[in-house]
């Protein structure tokens, strides 16, 4: 097990190194840079001032020097300075992280709490009216983008009751009730889409398992339907569901852009887009690396969970 984890961590480091090259390269391939943006906000371009700002920000250096400088900063725990705000990048990124992690976690809870039970019901009641209803429900969830649903929620609320959740971030210590309300609606909007996917996977996986001999045996032994489903069938059907949950969590971390924008939540995803538009390389590079770390870790955790959920899975050389 230890060897396996060490191997995975080694691969993770290599993956992050590859990621760093990709994100560094892609950012430089995008047209324009921070200096262009600064001049865009000023409405003119002064070639001499441009050269000076490039030098000030170290953008006049060869690309490989810039890349090595970034790597040096990462290794020394320094994330560099935001070009846009002239502040340490970490100072800007730090408050964003808990917001996105909380929203992603809440969305995942909503999606699992809805998706797994509904998937089970749908499988157990296969081809009944309820099954069709739940399948329509899940199809609707898959078809509706969460940002669209978020906007509909906002517009619906303001039209019907003249109220929307707070548009400035309320921390739990400030007002727990408002904080919960602020996060509940975006978590529902995002969680609904994910729940639809989880529900479909749960349903198909469970249907497959329910056709297995050991399920028939369990039933023949006189075990109740509930015990057969929850103790035997679901336990064996859950592996693909866990995989999807892991992928969804990783997807959510980077995929909350529009939801955070619609609900005006100051999270990583919204800020990342803003930083990309500003070509704020230090912020973008480090945020993407943060997302990559979360994705790698969530995948590792899911793989570890396999061993817990399925005793047949063994880790070793």
């Amino acid at each position: 097990m230890k060897t396996y984890v060490a191997q995975r961590l080694g691969i993770a480091v290599l993956t992050l190194l590859g990621m760093s090259l990709v994100i560094f390269g892609l950012l430089r391939l995008a047209p324009g840079d921070i200096v262009d943006i600064l001049f865009a906000a000023a409405g003119y371009v002064d070639p001499e001032a441009r050269i000076e700002i490039m030098r000030e920000l170290g953008l006049d250096q060869p690309l490989w020097v810039q890349y090595l400088e970034w790597m040096r900063q990462i290794l020394t725990g320094d994330m560099g300075k935001s070009y846009r705000y002239d502040l340490p990048a970490w100072e800007i990124i730090r408050p964003l992280v808990p917001v996105t992690l909380e929203l992603a976690a809440l969305s995942l809870i909503v999606s699992v709490a809805l998706g797994v039970p509904l998937g089970v019901i749908s499988a157990v009641r296969q081809d009944t009216g309820l099954d069709y209803l739940l399948r329509v429900f899940s199809l609707a969830g898959l078809s509706m983008p969460s940002f669209w649903l978020g906007m509909v929620i906002i517009l619906g609320l303001v039209a019907w009751i003249g109220w929307i959740p707070p548009v400035t971030y309320v921390s739990p210590s400030e007002n727990l009730g408002l904080h919960v309300i602020q996060f509940a609606l975006p978590a529902l909007a995002v969680g609904y889409r994910s729940s639809a996917l989880i529900m479909r996977i749960t349903r198909s996986s469970l249907l497959e398992v329910m056709r297995e001999d050991y399920i028939r045996t369990a039933r023949a032994k006189g075990q109740s339907g509930g015990v057969v489903i929850w103790r035997h069938a679901l336990k064996n059907a859950i592996l693909p569901v866990v995989t999807v949950i892991g992928i969804e969590f990783a997807f959510l971390i980077g995929g909350l852009v529009v939801t955070e924008t619609v609900f005006n939540l100051p999270g990583v995803a919204r800020f990342l887009v803003e930083a990309i538009l500003w070509r704020d390389y230090p912020v973008v590079q480090n945020l993407v690396m943060f997302i990559a770390v979360v994705v790698i870790l969530s995948n590792l955790i899911v793989d570890m969970l396999y061993g817990v959920l399925d005793p047949r899975v063994r880790y070793g050389n």
Partner: protein, 536 residues
């Protein structure tokens, strides 16, 4: 529809939509205390460093922190030389036949860090802005350097007197100093500091700037105008999504809209949803225009440039693109939104303002003279910024051009590339928006039409016009100056230097408890907030 009818329509709409033109001013005794939540559509691009940007997204939220020497009266909607009031300057005087502008400064002003304000701060600021060779500090960018090209020196005879010594008379300088774009910085603060913090003399002090979220201001207890500001605090909330911004205003989470944000359609929807909202149609000092690169074929041919101008139906554009939320005008905002704009009779004689079919026939004739016909159409690439308000306008223009035999394909340019592309002249024709910081011919003509100006994207350069611009700039007789300015505007349109399409209107929206926030016909100059109070 005539310009007069447009104006009437705008004010009738104010009556219908806003329950009357203007906000309640002086109806009841102002109340001390209270808090307002203000709308922002993006975070400050250069912090509080107004001198380094040209965007309302910086000026509007940074203005409460800073002060000018002089400012347009916050309570008067129309801005002119007559509405300029003193801020840091107690009084001022033109001397030596308008060659010296002397400011006598207030002696009771302190910076937010407690240090006294003196004439050195004024000299420091404007020497930096105009990039004087002996300036003790340097701005990273100085987009309005050209406003002060006529300043020979800034002298400080004593700690509370400043003299702007000019190369030649320039009565318009005072108006430029009254713009929201002309605050005074502290000499003892590194100018770079303004990108992250604000040491001002304004009515409010920055309490916190949470990047990408909000800026919190608290009342400055040492503000030099006694009894002001009325409000205890302000919060500028950044909301990127337009739908959410409007919903937050509608839900009462925001008290005030962002200048230039509310279109006519949005105003009508807001009023229908919340009838008590106070909506005031005002000018924005932002125009839609066409830039054509005169250095490159085919727009090096004046006939083709003029054909483009004739082809575009201005009134049709205002209806189709702005749903009536705009007014036609030449290079300066028309009355009542400005004081220098062309009169109705002059405007209707310009290319593109007559009957659309007649105008298009003129355009076809000009194109024919330049060697193009329906069988041999002119093919061009129309560049525009990849933002909806630009693309909508460009799409309309492309359709208009098609009707006269110009086939334009749309090329959307990302914001990061737009100004660099325009400044370098890497385009043929473009659909552009221009905001004018102050309704003053000098600010506009030198910035957008002067030979060699970095914002003269068309590279239009006409010696005769340049002479007339210099002439009007030093003309001391207001009537003669007005005539000269009108002649220049007509000439610019006749030359299709940068054909003006319309001046955008804003439907500035506040909740009824917000008092004394009088929106000006120029979005850049009324954000000080010292006179604003609330009944909430």
């Amino acid at each position: 529809m005539t310009r007069f009818r447009f104006t009437v329509a705008a004010f009738v709409l104010a009556g219908v939509v806003g329950g009357g033109v203007g906000l309640a001013t002086g109806q009841t005794t102002p109340k001390q205390g209270g808090h307002l939540n203000m709308m922002l559509r993006e975070d400050l691009s250069q912090g509080f460093s107004i001198h380094e940007t040209s965007t309302i997204s910086t000026v509007w939220p940074a203005m409460p922190c800073l002060s000018n020497l002089v400012l347009f009266d916050p309570l008067k909607r129309v801005e002119s030389a007559d509405t300029i009031i003193g801020e840091l300057a107690e009084k001022w005087s033109w001397q030596d036949n308008y060659k010296n502008l002397v400011f006598f400064l207030r002696k009771d002003v302190k910076w937010h860090d407690g240090k006294p304000f003196t004439s050195k701060d004024v000299k420091h600021t404007y020497d930096m802005v105009r990039a004087a060779p002996d300036a003790p500090a340097k701005l990273r960018l100085s987009p309005r350097k050209d406003w002060y090209a006529n300043v020979e020196a800034i002298e400080v005879p004593d700690s509370h007197t400043v003299v702007f010594r000019l190369k030649r008379p320039q009565p318009g300088l005072l108006a430029m100093l009254a713009s929201g774009y002309s605050p005074v910085y502290a000499a003892h603060v590194n100018p770079a500091t303004y990108r992250t913090a604000c040491v001002g003399t304004g009515p409010f002090k920055v309490k916190e700037w949470r990047k990408g979220e909000f800026i919190d201001y608290v009342k400055n207890p040492d503000y030099f105008v006694k009894g002001r500001p009325y409000l205890d605090s302000l919060r500028y909330v950044v909301i990127k999504e337009r739908g959410t911004r409007v919903a937050a205003l509608q839900a009462g989470q925001l008290d005030v809209s962002f200048p230039g944000e509310i279109s006519k359609t949005a105003a009508e929807q807001l009023k229908a949803a919340v009838p008590q909202l106070v909506i005031t149609p005002v000018g924005t000092s932002v125009n839609d225009n066409i830039i054509m690169n005169v250095k490159k074929p085919p727009f090096d041919n004046p006939k083709i440039r003029l054909a483009v101008s004739y082809a575009i139906d201005r009134k049709g554009l205002i209806q189709a693109v702005h749903q009536g939320g705009g007014v036609p005008g030449a290079s300066l905002p028309p009355r009542p939104y400005g004081v220098w704009g062309l009169l109705e009779k002059d405007l209707t004689a310009l290319p593109g303002y007559g009957k659309p079919e007649d105008m298009k026939a003129r355009a076809r004739k000009l194109l024919g003279e330049a060697g193009f016909s329906p069988q041999k159409p002119l093919k061009v690439e129309m560049a525009t910024r990849a933002i909806a308000i630009y693309v909508d306008m460009a799409s309309f223009v492309i359709n208009e051009l098609k009707q006269v035999g110009i086939e334009a394909s749309l090329k959307q340019i990302e914001t990061a590339q737009w100004h660099a592309m325009a400044t370098r002249g890497e385009y043929q024709i473009g659909a552009n928006l221009t905001g004018i910081g102050v309704d003053e011919p000098d600010a506009n003509f030198y910035e957008n039409y002067a030979c060699g100006s970095p914002r003269n994207y068309s590279f239009y350069c006409n010696e005769e016009v340049a002479k007339m611009v210099d002439q009007q700039s030093q003309e001391l007789d207001p009537k003669k100056r007005q005539q000269l300015v009108a002649t220049i505007q007509k000439k610019l349109e006749a030359d299709a230097a940068r054909p003006m399409l319309d001046w955008r209107l804003d439907y500035f929206t506040v909740w009824p408890h917000v008092k004394n926030l009088v929106p000006h016909h120029n979005i850049y100059n009324f954000g000080r907030m010292q006179e604003v109070w609330t009944t909430k």
